[in-house]
Assembly symmetry: C2
Homo-oligomer: 306 residues x 2
C-alpha cells in the first residue's frame, strides 16, 4: 500500500534538490513577518486580535504565497513589492481553514498539531476571527501601492476564487459529499473549487501583477490546476496509508466519504497523481531553466510524507 | 413607558411626509432587482445558490442602500450608475445578519418573521452562504465600471468598516457583553462598531464616489454616526416596550445583557435618542433643502413602531 513509483516518474529531472525548500522557507518567513506587521497594526479588542494572530500565525507551509511569489520571480517581477498579495492569499487560506474546522463543518479539534481556533477560543470568536482575516485580505490588497487598475483586477480574481463560484462552492459540495457518495467527476470538480481555485488564483494573480502574456497565463494556470489536484490525491494516499481501514479523507473522523483512493484504488490514484505532475511539469516548458523551483515544488508534492 | 416626545422634537420640520418612504421603496426595489440579477448570474450548486437568495432577498428595509443612494443624489451624483455600491452594502449587511443569527452567536430562529438561514437550510450552509454574500459584495465593487482609483477606495472603506476594526470587532464585543455587563461608554463603542461603522461607510462611500468636499464628508459622517446610534437606542426602547420585564435587547432571548434602556432608563434613553436626531439634523444644514429626505429618514428612526 506504499506509494508506487511508476516508470514515468523516473523521467522527472531532479537537479537542485534543496533550492525549492530553501526558497519556501524564505518566502514563509517573509509572509509571516508581513502578516505579523499587519496584525500588530490593528486596533481590535485584545482577545479578538489574539484569535486573529492564532488563526494566521500558527504554522503552515505557506504554499500559496510561495507559488505566487515564485510565479512573480519566474515572470521577471519584483517579489518584495508583491508581498501584500502573498499575504492576502495566505489570509484567505487561513480564514478558510478556521471556518472549515468549525463544529458545523469538519468539527476538527486539531490543526497542525495544536488546538483549532474554536477549541482554543470559542466558536463565535473563531467564526468572527475567520471573517476578519478574510476582510483583512481584501483590505491589504486595497491598500497596497500597485496601479489601481491592477489592484481591482487582483481583488476581483481573489474574490471570484473565494466565493460562490469558487472556494465556498467547493466547501459546500465537500459537506454535501459526506451525505451522498461522490463520483470521480464530482470529487474532481469539488476539489478544483475547494482548493484548486485559490491555488490557480495565486498563479494568475502573479500574471495580473506582472502583466504576463497569454501563453504564460495558460502555462501557470495549467500548472496550478494540476498541482492542486495532485496535492489532494497525495493527501488521500497518505491518509489511506496511515489509516488503511478507512476510506474517508480524515482518518480520525467517522465519515465514510468518497476519496480519490476509495474511488480509484491506491495504484490508479498514484498513477493519476503522477500523470498530473507530468502535465504540470510539461506546462512549465516555456519558462526553460527559470522554472526549476516550480519543478521541485511538483516533486515535493508527490514525495512528501505528511 | 411609551415613547416620550420632548419639546425639542416638536421643532423638527416635517414637510413632504411621505417622500422618504416613497424613495425608500424605490431604492429597495432597485437594489433587490440588482441583487436578483447578480445572484441569478452565479453558477453555483442550486441549493447553495438558494441559500444565497434566501439570505439576500427575504425582506429588509434596505436602509444602507437608501442612505448611500440618497447621499449620492444629495451630492449631485448619478444614483443609477451607483447601484452596485448600494448592492455591495446590502450584501455585507445580509452576511452580517446570517452570521449573527447562527447558534454560536445569537442563536436566533426567526428573522423578519421567517426562519433564519441556518434553520431553513443548515448551519454549515448558512455559514458558507454568508461568506459567499460577503465575497460577492467585494466582487461587485471590483467589477463595477467606476474609475479604478475610486473602486479601490470604495473597497478599502467597505473592508475597514466590516473588519477587525469595525463590524467584526463590534459583533465580538456584543458577544462578550453577554458575559460582562457593559458600561454606557462600552455599549456606545460596541454599537458604533457593530452597526455604526457600516452606516457611516455607506455615507462616506457616496462621498468617495462623487468626490465630495471635506465639509460634505464631515456632515454626512456625523449624520450617519448619530442616526446609527439613535436607531439602536430606538430598538432598545421598542424591545423594552414590547417586553418590559426584560432588559435584554432581544426580548425573546434569555440574556440579561446591558442595553441603553437598562443603563439609562426609558426617559433618559428617549432623550438621548432625540439629542442624537437633533445633532444628525443639524449636520444636514449645509445641504439646505436638498437634505429633506435625510431629515425625514431621521424622523422615521424615532417614530417607527418596529
Amino acid at each position: 500500500m506504499t506509494y508506487k513509483r511508476t516508470s514515468a516518474r523516473k523521467k522527472i529531472p531532479d537537479k537542485f534538490p534543496s533550492a525549492f525548500q530553501n526558497q519556501l522557507a524564505v518566502d514563509q518567513k517573509a509572509v509571516e513577518e508581513f502578516l505579523k506587521d499587519i496584525l500588530s497594526s490593528l486596533k481590535s479588542p485584545p482577545r479578538f486580535l489574539g484569535a486573529l494572530f492564532y488563526g494566521a500565525l500558527s504554522g503552515g507551509k505557506r504554499l500559496r504565497p510561495f507559488l505566487f511569489l515564485q510565479a512573480v520571480r519566474t515572470l521577471g517581477g519584483n517579489d518584495v513589492s508583491a508581498l501584500p498579495v502573498a499575504g492576502a492569499l495566505e489570509l484567505v487560506h487561513c480564514y478558510s481553514l478556521i471556518h472549515d474546522d468549525l463544529p458545523s463543518m469538519d468539527n476538527a479539534k486539531l490543526r497542525r498539531g495544536i488546538a483549532t481556533s474554536h477549541i482554543k477560543f470559542d466558536e463565535a470568536t473563531a467564526l468572527l476571527a475567520g471573517n476578519a482575516l478574510f476582510t483583512l485580505a481584501t483590505e491589504v490588497l486595497a491598500r497596497a501601492s500597485f496601479i489601481p487598475k491592477i489592484q481591482v483586477m487582483l481583488i476581483g480574481r481573489l474574490m471570484r476564487a473565494s466565493g460562490a463560484e469558487g472556494m465556498m462552492a467547493g466547501q459546500y459540495l465537500d459537506l454535501m459529499g459526506e451525505k451522498n457518495a461522490f463520483s470521480l467527476e464530482e470529487i474532481t470538480h469539488m476539489q478544483a473549487l475547494k482548493t484548486g481555485a485559490l491555488i490557480e488564483a495565486a498563479l494568475l494573480m502573479a500574471c495580473d501583477l506582472v502583466e504576463a502574456s497569454r501563453e504564460e497565463r495558460e502555462a501557470l494556470s495549467t500548472y496550478g490546476r494540476c498541482l492542486g489536484l495532485a496535492f489532494q490525491i497525495r493527501d488521500d494516499l497518505l491518509d489511506h496509508k496511515n489509516m488503511p481501514h478507512l476510506t474517508g479523507k480524515d482518518g480520525g473522523h467517522d465519515t465514510q466519504k468518497s476519496t480519490f483512493v476509495s474511488l480509484l484504488g491506491v495504484d490508479e490514484a498514484s498513477d493519476e497523481c503522477d500523470r498530473l505532475i507530468q502535465k504540470a511539469l510539461k506546462s512549465l516548458d516555456i519558462f526553460g531553466d527559470k522554472a526549476h523551483l516550480f519543478q521541485q515544488a511538483a516533486h515535493f508534492i508527490v514525495e512528501r510524507k505528511h
